[in-house]
Structure formats: structure tokens, C-alpha cells
């Protein structure tokens, strides 16, 4: 009975919780190390091929503007225009792509590109939730910050 009450004294103090959780995570990390090697599934969603010769490197995924591109989505039938975004270039990014060779990241980050395709179209809900998290966190921070200390 003594050991039980000692354990419960530790548990009852919420200061120990982080340690408890971290300990559990250490154990699971060890399990993770012991369960290696894990095979990497080659048949991935949205795989990529790198073409260093392209001016869109490392994001050149082929396709013609305003036409579909082959991208491996989970449920292609749910986004009928999947792949269209990937091939679109705004005038600015078209200009950059024509004139330089090493600005692939900038061009693709500019609206249109494979990441936009995934973030906004096929897996758009992730982005909705993620912006909501940002929104909530800022709501908390700004509420606490602006609350007058009027005790």
C-alpha cells in the first residue's frame, strides 16, 4: 500500500506530468529504434523527379499550361482539375523561368506550382485547419497581451 500512495503522490502533482509524458515518449522512441529497419514504400503519393536542367528545378513536374499534369493523388476523381495548378505560370514567373536557371523555388512558390496544388487543392483541408491553428494561437496571445493588468 505504501508504494501505491507514493506513486499517487507523484501522479497527483501536475508538475510531474511533463516528465511523465516525456518518459513515455523516450520509451516509444526506443521501441522505434528497435523496430528498425523499416522498409520505405516506394509507391508514394505525389512522388517527385528531379531534373536539374529545367529552369523550374527542383519543382518541374511537366505538363502544359492550362492542361492536366500527371500527379499521383489518392483520390484523383475528387479533384477533377488536379494538375492544372501545377503547370500554370504567372507572367512574372514565366519571365523568371525564361531568363534564369536557378530560381525554381521562387517561381514555384509564386502562385501556381505543385506545392500550391497540394496545399490548396487536393489536401486543402489541411491548410484550413492549419490556418485555424495559427488564428487560435494568435487569439490567445493577443487576448492575453492586450488584457489590462487591472488587479
Amino acid at each position: 500500500m505504501l508504494i501505491i500512495s507514493r506513486i499517487s503522490r507523484v501522479l497527483s502533482n501536475f508538475q510531474h506530468l511533463v516528465a511523465l509524458f516525456a518518459g513515455a515518449c523516450v520509451i516509444v522512441s526506443l521501441i522505434g529504434i528497435f523496430s528498425l529497419p523499416l522498409a520505405f514504400e516506394e509507391n508514394q503519393l505525389y512522388p517527385k523527379t528531379l531534373d536539374p536542367a529545367s529552369s523550374l528545378y527542383p519543382y518541374d513536374r511537366g505538363g502544359v499550361p492550362f492542361g492536366p499534369t500527371e500527379i499521383v493523388a489518392q483520390y484523383p476523381e475528387n479533384s477533377p482539375y488536379a494538375g492544372y495548378v501545377t503547370t500554370y505560370l504567372t507572367p512574372l514567373s514565366q519571365y523568371l523561368a525564361d531568363h534564369t536557371h536557378y530560381l525554381g523555388t521562387t517561381i514555384v512558390a509564386h502562385p501556381g506550382g505543385i506545392i500550391d496544388e497540394i496545399l490548396y487543392n487536393t489536401r486543402g483541408l489541411d491548410t484550413v485547419v492549419e490556418t485555424s491553428i495559427l488564428f487560435t494561437a494568435f487569439a490567445i496571445a493577443s487576448y492575453l497581451y492586450r488584457r489590462r493588468e487591472e488587479e
Binding site: L11, C25, V28, Q74, R123, D126, V129, I133, E151
Partner: protein, 217 residues
């Protein structure tokens, strides 16, 4: 597909992310909806505290701005748990779970009682480091199977590593289940019952959901 929560009732597609309901998740979803409605409808109670050593007691009042903020957080928490109940994609689920975690912290962080704030901070730390098991588990499952869709995984043919499942479950536990519940109990001493209940409900719901996910995949 193993039969866990009954057959699918309804599937809602957002691109690659499916939302589906089976009797089990639909029950949980309806409860989340019900309590979110309650949060909107009800006003906080006036909590009475006894001053020990005498017969006196006093009521803790909740200011209007604090009430509004906490109500907003509780509604967001309800919406997040509804999303987590319906989501059919592992990464999307983990994002919803993180949202539940941060709204839970938000609900109590507005309280000015130092003790409650301490508990909220400790819980916040746990909720924040819990993103490692959550996202790490999702990434591990994606890496070893090549898909994130729960329905595709449930259809079989994938060897989901046990450690991936363990990470996922551990992450959800970190966002607020027993025995980490003790920190929440401290948070619960805060006044404002409808909102505080939302904390407890949401973490229970995500835990119930992750049990289904872990058994299904």
C-alpha cells in the same frame, strides 16, 4: 475492412481528404455538436467558494470579455473535435487534434487564477511536445505504406508498423488523457463550467476516435 464501428453511412470528399461517418463516429460527432450547442446557449455559472476557517463564502465572477473569449475558444474546440471525429485522413486528424490541444489551453489560459495558469502552462507544454508523436506517427505511416487515407489503409494490404500506431496513440494521449488528466483536473477548478466541460469532452472524443483509427488501420 475490419468491422469496428459499423458500416459507413456517409462520405464527404474534400480532394484527397475524405470525411466519413460510421455509426460510431457519427455518435461521437453528434455529441460534439450537442455540447457545442450547449456552449453557445449557456452562460457560465457563478462559482461559490468557501473561505476556510469561517462561515463566509464568496462568488467568483467571470468578466464579460473573459467569458466571450472563452466561449469563442470553446466553440472552436467543439468544431475541432467535430472535425477530428469525421476526418478520414491521418495527417488531417493529427492537425485537428493539435487544434483541440491549443484551444484547450486557450479555454483555461484566460482565467486569472495563478494555480490554474500554472496547470495550463504545464498542459500546454505536453500538448506542444505531443505534436512530435502525432506528426511523427503520421509521417512514419505515410513512409511505410505510401498513403494517409484511413479508408485506403483499412482496405488492407499495408503493413502499418506498430511503432507508428503507438506514436499516434501516445500523441493523442498527450493532448489530454489519463493519466495526464491530473493536470486537466487542476485546470477544471476554473469557473465557467460549459467551457471547461468542452476541454474534457474534446480530449475524450479524440481519444475514442484514435482507438478506432488504431484498430482500423
Amino acid at each position: 475492412m475490419p468491422d469496428i464501428g459499423g458500416s459507413d453511412l456517409f462520405v464527404l470528399a474534400f480532394g484527397d481528404i475524405l470525411h466519413y461517418f460510421n455509426p460510431y463516429t457519427a455518435t461521437l460527432f453528434l455529441l460534439a455538436l450537442l455540447f457545442t450547442g450547449l456552449v453557445i446557449a449557456s452562460r457560465p455559472e457563478r462559482q461559490l467558494d468557501i473561505a476556510f476557517g469561517g462561515d463566509a463564502y464568496y462568488a467568483k465572477m467571470t468578466t464579460v470579455s473573459e467569458m466571450r473569449f472563452r466561449r469563442f475558444m470553446a466553440i472552436a474546440c467543439g468544431l475541432a473535435s467535430m472535425g477530428a471525429m469525421a476526418s478520414g485522413d491521418i495527417f488531417n486528424f493529427t492537425l485537428f487534434v493539435s487544434l483541440v490541444g491549443i484551444t484547450n489551453v486557450g479555454i483555461v489560459s484566460a482565467v486569472r487564477i495563478r494555480h490554474v495558469l500554472n496547470a495550463a502552462y504545464e498542459y500546454g507544454i505536453v500538448a506542444m511536445v505531443a505534436t512530435l508523436p502525432l506528426f511523427g506517427g503520421a509521417a512514419l505511416i505515410l513512409g511505410t505504406t505510401g498513403t494517409l487515407s484511413i479508408q485506403a489503409l483499412a482496405a488492407g494490404g499495408f503493413a502499418v508498423p506498430l511503432v507508428g500506431k503507438a506514436l499516434l496513440a501516445l500523441g493523442v494521449i498527450g493532448e489530454g488523457m489519463a493519466p495526464f488528466y491530473a493536470a486537466k483536473a487542476e485546470m477544471f477548478r476554473a469557473p465557467g463550467a460549459p467551457y471547461v466541460i468542452m476541454c474534457s469532452l474534446s480530449s475524450l472524443l479524440i481519444f475514442l476516435r484514435v482507438v478506432e483509427i488504431v484498430i482500423t488501420i
